[in-house]
């Protein structure tokens, strides 16, 4: 049973990594657009925004403008991961903050 759970967790982990790395076939421009849209969506839905996300999106755009497609893709993917992490923080913290209130 323990092995079964471990395998399940491993599959879930690989699955989520694959989901995050799903932008491999896309162009840098498409990934930047996706990251920008994701950032705006999280901003609209929550009060959680990270300063780093915008910086990375801008760096990705700069790399693309400079003709460095590979670097732009890498940074855009990083921005997408930051957007996802922000979304998850908002979700988790909507309940977890209550545990920090002293009683």
């Amino acid at each position: 049973m323990k092995h079964g759970l471990k395998s399940l967790a491993l599959v879930a982990l690989i699955g989520s990594s694959t989901a995050f790395a799903g932008g491999h076939g896309k162009s840098a421009a498409a990934l930047i657009e996706e990251a920008t849209a994701g950032y705006k969506q999280v901003s609209k839905e929550t009060t959680y925004q990270w300063t780093t996300t915008v910086k990375v999106i801008k760096a990705a755009q700069k790399a693309l403008d400079g003709g460095n497609e590979a670097e732009a893709k890498k940074l855009a993917q990083q921005a997408l991961d930051l957007v996802e992490a922000t979304r998850q923080q908002a979700q988790v913290e909507s309940q977890n903050w209550k545990m920090r209130v002293p009683k």
Binding site: T51, T52, Q89, V101
Partner: protein
């Protein structure tokens, strides 16, 4: 059996979370104060928490007290006095809104029932200016920090006595909003206000000792050595958010006003002693 124990444990965690979220403001305040009393039993009397980090660091306190002999905020008080007494184009002045010397610090923040929002002193200053046809001031520093310093100086010794009126559920909602903000982790560094200023207060982040949140709202505005100028409480809020890589909120926007409402309520009973000098 293990499963039963786990379920019971989860149930207890759930119950404690529910209890934390439904506790009223006064229960929150008592627990908050007790937390700092237990963490820093050396701070005596309890009112000394108004001195921020210097209430827990005897060596730094000596240096700070020397600085306070020739305080760097003195010029700001003088500038603030001029602004406060300046006659508007319509013949009135800030005196018409805040009395002869502006010693009204104890009135803020408060719940404004008519408008359904938390009023802060800086917001009231700008509303007075605008109501008299004058340009509003920027909220984080400069002239606003100066006039706020003058009014805070004249209010020294007044006691924080924030009320959450029970006849208006929106006031409690604003308090709860500020409370949630205080305990919520934000930014890429995943820090809550409470992580630094409660659960690791008194500990060092690099070379700096983290101040206790109990007493945080007493001494504003401050002259910060890091800024080399005066700044307001909302400027500091924004700076903290920037430090943890979270986008800061708008100064005097609802988010920060509610946060000020919450932390001020937590410090009820402490004296206002602003303006102050800080590192």
């Amino acid at each position: 059996m293990k499963k039963i124990i786990r379920n019971v444990a989860f149930g207890l965690v759930g119950l404690s979370v529910s209890a934390a979220s439904v506790a009223g403001p006064e229960e929150d305040r008592q627990a908050f104060r007790k937390f700092y009393e237990n963490r820093f039993p050396q701070v005596q009397p309890i009112g000394d928490f108004q001195n921020g980090v210097y209430s827990i660091l005897p060596a730094a306190r000596e240096q700070w007290e020397s600085i306070e002999e020739f305080p760097p905020y003195e010029l700001a008080i003088e500038e603030g006095e001029k602004i406060f007494n300046k006659t508007f184009a319509n013949g009135k002045s800030l005196k018409d809104c805040f009395g002869e010397d502006g010693a009204v610090r104890e009135q803020y923040p408060h719940w404004n029932k008519e408008r359904g929002m938390v009023m802060t002193m800086e917001l009231a200053i700008n509303e007075c200016l605008e109501a008299n046809g004058e340009k509003p001031l920027k909220y984080k520093k400069g002239a606003m920090a100066a006039v706020s310093a003058y009014m805070a100086y004249n209010s020294r010794g007044q006691v924080i006595n924030v009320e959450i009126p029970s006849d208006d559920p929106r006031a409690l909602a604003a308090y709860e909003d500020g409370k949630e903000h205080f305990y919520t982790k934000r930014g890429q560094l995943n820090f809550a206000c409470a992580d630094c200023h409660m659960h690791t207060s008194g500990m060092n982040y690099r070379s700096e000792t983290v101040s206790p949140a109990f007493g945080h709202p007493t001494n504003w505005p401050v002259y910060r050595a890091k800024w080399q100028e005066m700044g307001t409480l909302h400027r500091r809020f924004a700076g903290c958010h920037d430090n943890i890589r979270a986008n800061p909120f708008k100064a005097q926007g609802e988010e920060y006003r509610n946060l000020e409402y919450f932390i001020s309520y937590m410090s009820n009973g402490l004296e206002f002693n602003g303006p102050a000098a800080r590192k």
